[in-house]
Subunit: 217 residues, 2 copies
DNA sequence: GAGTGGTCTAGACCACTAC
DNA sequence: TAGTGGTCTAGACCACTCG
């Protein structure tokens, strides 16, 4: 037998999910499951081309993405290696909506529902290490995957980290108006929500990390 | 005269500096000097190929790099736009805390302050396209850069997208206990916060989306 | 339909690292 | 010298946006 090529599976050319992305998921899984351990030399570009039946450009597109995520390290003339374990800090709590959605082959999008500045409440201030009353920026975003709403997210951050915000020009862009009734309602409910959650404390226990989570954005 | 090609400068093929990098510096300068202002449509890929005498691959390599630095925003079918000031990008659309912090040479970390499931309030349900009362997962995270608290973030997402969450293993990760007193306080304050924000409605007016807004990280 | 960016191919030559 | 990743070309087809 002349050739016996080791293949780890073919990529689906008809899929709406790009090949480089399919390949990325495959390689990522090998890394995350430990099949490829940190420090391991992974197959070279030509090898991957053969194994998965794609061009070198596609392999390189995959690799570039994995590098940017910090999963692999490349060295000219030597090869491509699995990167060391991420700092534990990064493992817990980081969740990239975009990454996660794209990994599923969907298209992520964000809508800003509201944003503004306000004085930090005592609770927010203490969490952020500010004096109560210091100004914070808030932002509420709706995140969608393939136009389906997936996540509602509100963030606060100290205004002092947002220098220059007031220099933004608006050039006639529509001003979204959400401040008002909606928020009173939402926050009232949110409060009830949290109170209910306390009662359901056991439920909180099954949560720690997020669905697809270990995730580096 | 047969040809008169508009060029903004030729790239040096003999240079040890790659063409895509030379081109990147050129485009970067146009953006940073304001020759291309935020929101401006910049030349298309074929145009840049002609202008600088390089292949589309090289132009795209340049573009990818500028995108990853947040200097431009691309939209299929529409074109490539100059991104707004940094701060804006951070607040609008997709924002990767981790990337941003790392870009600044700091170490990102997240703390989960709370999470759980609860029934969706009317407001949350409507935003997420759920029926009121459908179950949602909530998560509150504190994000830090070099141990300095930078952002407080709360997210809601439909429980139905979190299948299998209960199969997560915790492997000794600490379970943070925050449900309780703290949250009543925080939410009460938060409500005051938003009410204050309403009073300061004019402040909200300086913010909204901006040019290239549908931003992909 | 024309123009844009997104994906992909099959080559090529180079600089670097190892043997 | 052989193998690796880094750069680059000249095509191709597609999905999307807009008039």
């Amino acid at each position: 037998m002349a050739f016996r090529v080791e293949t780890n599976g073919r990529l689906d050319g008809g899929s709406p999910v790009p090949k480089y992305h399919q390949l990325k998921q495959i390689l990522k899984e090998k890394i995350e499951t430990g099949e490829w351990a940190p420090g391991d030399l992974i197959p070279s570009e030509p090898e991957l081309c053969r194994m998965y039946g794609v061009s070198r450009t596609t392999v390189r597109q995959t690799m570039a993405s994995l590098v940017s995520e910090g999963l692999i390290v490349r060295q000219q003339g030597k090869g491509t290696f699995v990167a060391g374990p991420k700092i534990e800090q990064e493992l817990v709590g980081f969740y990239s909506f975009t990454e996660d959605v794209m990994r599923k082959g969907l298209r992520p999008r964000s809508e800003i529902l509201s944003k503004g500045v306000t004085a930090a409440s005592k609770a927010v201030a203490s969490k952020l290490g500010l004096a109560p009353g210091e100004r914070v920026v808030y932002l509420t975003r709706l995140r969608l995957a393939d136009e389906e709403p997936i996540m509602l997210e509100t963030s606060y951050l100290p205004e002092k980290y947002c220098q220059g915000l007031d220099q933004i020009d608006f050039r006639g862009r529509p001003l979204y108006d959400v401040l008002g009734q909606d928020f009173n309602v939402e926050l009232t409910r949110a409060r009830e929500t949290f109170e209910a959650a306390v009662a359901d404390e056991y439920e909180a226990s099954w949560l720690r990390i997020w669905p697809g989570a270990p995730v580096m954005p």
